[in-house]
């Protein structure tokens, strides 16, 4: 089957589906008609998509943690703890890293060893191994909507199992769950595999069941310039819409400069809606998710609370529909449930004390938003040009040519030619521009901003800045200045 940005036919879908369900024993338990009946009984307050839509209408920012452990009872306990003791608005089920690589045998080992050790040896919930039954047990034992959060280039079986299990949202996308999470999966393959996941959601939509999809905005979480992640988010939204997805949450990882963060979220929301509209996708519900700082954290818990709270406030001021919460254990390891709940409480306190306030309109925000939109448009225009109008084909070519290029991505299908660094006020800019298709004005703008920093710090603009910036937040500042600056 050739990759194209075109809705899969029933035939195409069901042919692939057979293969997918046969790839691991638990696949056989997915019965689509039975799943539709099951999902029809999900009450509104436990449907991810509906709760997001209502949050957007009410103009509130809701909080969601990350969390997942190997065994079902422990996982349920964890989720309910985050609801009751943390005050989470949405529940996650973070999937373990073996599942993400479709290595289900290793998951079996991890499950067994976890049972023996009495603690989770897996870094997440192995949903495929636990199957539809296990996922339903989780869904039925909690009071909030559940979403799978992972990083799986080929998430087709996972998607089948979780949705049939009552989980009404799936994070990921053909770019965002490949490039940061894989080394040797081609863009073509992951785009196609995620078309499957989207088509599955589209199928449910046609049966009257709304399911949320969420492209993973932060990518590598490390100094990704807003226009790059926004462009990818918009592409994934368009690809999903083509497959029939209606409820999409586009995401953004905090960069750290408040003006840039607010501008980026607003640009993302507006441009996503504009492009969907332009391509004629109707009745779409577009919401936004803001990820608290995704790069290296400070080890000290008090400092971590400072980072967490700043992220919450940025999310609130930007008007994001949802905020993904970090924890005071972030720098060290997967958090205890207590640390996780503490992160949510700090987040919700900051948000509720902000009381729905937005960043007041200001020229600085408008200017930054204009820059981000212009950069994003340059990328998207070029992608479409490369695909001769087909977004999927264009995306594959864009990666080949470094037109889309994610910094620090492990994927060998990513050019890895661009390098970011902060400017003198902490906004993330393009330092090495690789093959990014920007207008001369935009290239000059990025350069000028970085040179301003170079002058201030009395050093050349270069990779040393990037390295310093990578360590900066962990060490307690936003910008990695040379000593004494």
């Amino acid at each position: 089957m050739e990759l194209k940005n075109k809705r899969w036919t029933e035939e195409e879908f069901f042919k692939v589906r057979e293969e997918v369900l046969n790839s691991w024993p638990t696949g056989k338990d997915v019965d689509l008609q039975e799943a539709v009946d099951y999902l029809k009984k999900v009450p509104e307050e436990k449907n991810f998509a509906i709760k997001l839509k209502k949050a957007k209408e009410a103009k509130v920012t809701l909080a969601q943690p990350r969390a997942g452990v190997a065994l079902i009872p422990d996982h349920i306990e964890l989720l309910n703890f985050l609801d009751k003791e943390g005050g989470a608005d949405f529940l996650p089920s973070t999937i373990d890293s073996y599942t993400r690589q479709n290595r289900y045998e290793e998951c079996e080992v991890g499950i067994e060893e976890s049972e023996k050790a009495g603690r989770s040896l897996l870094n997440g919930f192995p949903a495929v191994n636990h199957g539809v039954k296990g996922c339903r047990e989780v869904y039925e034992s909690v009071n909030l909507p559940v979403q799978a959060r992972h990083g799986t280039p080929d998430s087709r079986l996972l998607a089948e199992i979780i949705h049939a299990g009552g989980w009404t949202s799936n994070e990921g996308g053909g770019i965002s769950y490949n490039v940061p999470y894989a080394k040797s999966v081609s863009i073509e393959k992951s785009l196609r595999d995620w078309q499957y996941c989207d088509r599955l959601v589209g199928f449910y939509e046609e049966q009257g069941i709304t399911i949320n999809r969420e492209p993973f905005g932060p990518l590598t979480g490390t100094l990704v310039p807003p226009s790059m992640s926004n462009a990818i988010g918009i592409i994934e939204a368009l690809l999903a819409a083509e497959q029939g997805v209606k409820n999409i949450t586009v995401g953004y990882g905090q960069c750290g400069n408040l003006v840039q963060d607010v501008a980026a979220v607003r640009a993302l929301e507006e441009q996503t809606e504009e492009y969907l509209e332009h391509y004629g996708y109707k009745d779409m519900v577009i919401t936004t998710v803001f990820h608290q700082w995704m790069g290296g954290f400070p080890k000290d818990e008090a400092k971590a609370f400072g980072v967490i709270s700043l992220g919450s406030i940025a999310a609130g001021l930007a008007g994001a529909t949802k905020v993904i919460v970090k924890t005071p254990h972030e720098a060290v390891g997967i958090p205890t449930k207590e640390a996780n709940a503490a992160g949510i409480r700090a987040t919700k306190m900051a948000l509720s004390m902000l009381g729905g306030q937005r960043m007041p309109d200001a020229k600085a925000i408008a200017d930054e938003k204009a820059i981000i939109k212009a950069e994003t448009k340059c990328i998207l225009d070029k992608v479409l040009e490369l695909g001769m109008g087909d977004l999927a084909i264009g995306t594959v070519k864009a990666f080949e040519q470094g037109v889309i290029d994610v910094p620090f991505a492990p994927s060998r299908y990513n050019a890895g030619k661009i390098l970011p660094a902060r400017d003198n006020v902490g906004c993330v800019r393009y330092l090495m521009t690789g093959n990014i298709p920007f207008s001369k004005d935009l290239l000059d703008f990025n350069r000028q901003r970085l040179e301003e920093r170079g002058r201030y710090e009395g050093r050349e603009v270069g990779f040393a800045m990037t390295v310093d910036d990578i360590f900066a937040v962990g060490k307690g500042t936003l910008i990695g200045r040379p000593e004494g600056k």
């Binding site: 890293s97 690589q101 290793e106 991890g110 040896l121 390891g333």
Partner: protein, 137 residues
Amino acid sequence: MEKKTVVLGVIGSDVHAVGNTILDYSLTNAGFNVVNIGVLSSQEDFINAAIETNADAIWVSSLYGHGEIDCRGMRENCEEAGLKDILLYVGGNIVVGKQDWDVVHKTFKDMGFDRVYPPGTSVEEGINDMKKDLGIA
């Protein structure tokens, strides 16, 4: 003096690439010959690279929490493959969660790692230790 060779990589199904980039950059700057096998590397990948390049040390990174499972038997596998007494270092966030460091340290020492580093270790510390261990300090 001849350049010493270090095999560098991130073990298991782990894709954390940022620290790996930094380690590569810093080890190279410090004068080592770096063979970076990148993320998502198996024990076999490490061992093959070490044999091929006649390496003096292997730096294993594990960030994502499965280090305990992924590193098991690595020393024995090195020995079997004929890598006698090669320096084995491990660092990153090598276990799941915030655990008692003394226990973690012992677990990995018992597995045969020469040096075991807690989260947030600076690159310089590892480099200084290695210079000592290789007698080039």
